[in-house]
Symmetry: C2
């Protein structure tokens, strides 16, 4: 099983086996995922069609269609504030089982500890094993840890930030089941700071609730993924 | 916070501060939960009303109404085939956070190991801590481990059994959001045996799927609880 990154494309972007990439997709593939010309990735149209593609500069060449039965029709990027100790292992394992496409470990105001490169290696190994065990077609991408504020600046996809306190709508009530891409952020033990929530809202994140009880930092991503996958999977 | 058991009652069962108990409720309180005359429990009507009640023989006396903000309107009993090692700790912790009312560890054909009394003590301690941390009003009941086949005989509530293989409907599509009581069973690593599924169906369990990917035994209960609570909580 290959560890290929994937992006969602609009059906209109594909013509004659060529995918014309938007500026944003070029940025995402090149800067965020660090792919170079000639690297391969997966393009999906969110309606069950998947293609193996090869990156050129402003476009990509379709190499072959892919048959996918166990993947979600939506590409979910999970931004998780890093919990203490080894708790992130379990987040990676569970969320891989639940169909996540990309996990971005984030450093928040309440979790500043930068993990070692060995940890990143470990999470990628866990993701690979969990993808196999859960019979997925692809291994999710685990990005290098980034500061939460750095990430919020550059996104235009549908995006949510989970917050336990405050009168926010329940995630289940705001998900658009027809979405092809989605970003969801869950906080550290103790929650996001007020400033982080404000910044996230300014960057277009919608604050949402996961229910009336206070969830641990390791439970929240699993709950969020479950709700999104149940909404989007037929 | 007290570790009180709870049952759902129909509004018509309550008259003049007296709850007339059905034969089934008497059996459940006396035989399953092992309450005696004079013991206290919680009665809930599934519409947000809760009462502290005291057991008599065929009825119960209402002692006082309770204010509850963080509890689910449905009383969920989770039957979990015991996983190996300490993995059940995490199931108890997560499912308590998610609002479960009662957890029944079950011995299945593929998990015959009977846990020690120390383990049961440990799970009850974990449930108490998790209930406090998640700001619940009540601590879920952890029953003594029982054989799966023994449990299936005596239930008449709405009930589901999760099974990864086979073409079963998704749990999200079969939950009745107005239910006040529900039983859900999740299997061991390797899944239920065919015979167990057959027996469960004969006992009125509806087999359901939790999605297209294969979940670990420790992830499935968390996913099931998330889906039920999201369906039933307003």
């Amino acid at each position: 099983m290959s560890q290929l990154q994937r992006i969602a494309i609009a059906p209109s972007q594909l013509q004659n086996q060529q995918i014309s990439l938007t500026k944003e997709q070029q940025h995402y593939l090149g800067r965020v995922l660090r792919l170079r010309e000639g690297d391969r990735f997966i393009a999906m149209d969110g309606r069950g069609k998947w293609w193996l593609a090869q990156l050129a500069t402003e476009q990509a060449q379709v190499l072959e269609p892919l048959t996918v039965l166990t993947e979600l029709p939506v590409s979910i990027t999970l931004m998780v504030a890093l919990p203490k100790g080894n708790a992130f292992d379990e987040v990676v394992r569970c969320c891989t089982e639940l169909g996540v496409a990309c996990i971005a470990p984030v450093l928040s105001d309440r979790t500043l500890l930068k993990p070692s490169p060995q940890k990143l290696e470990r999470w990628r190994r866990i993701a690979t094993e969990a993808a196999e065990q859960s019979e997925r077609s692809f291994v999710p991408t685990i990005l290098e840890p980034v500061a939460f504020n750095a990430v919020t600046a550059n996104v235009t996809t549908q995006r949510y930030i989970c917050e336990a306190r405050g009168e926010y709508p329940h995630l289940k009530n705001v998900i658009n089941p027809a979405s092809t891409e989605m970003i969801i952020a869950t906080g550290p033990e103790g929650g996001w700071t007020e400033k982080e929530i404000e910044n996230a809202i300014a960057a277009g994140f919608q604050p949402v609730s996961l229910g009336r009880r206070i969830l641990r930092a390791v439970t929240a991503p699993v709950v969020a993924l479950t709700l999104i996958s149940a909404s989007c999977e037929v």
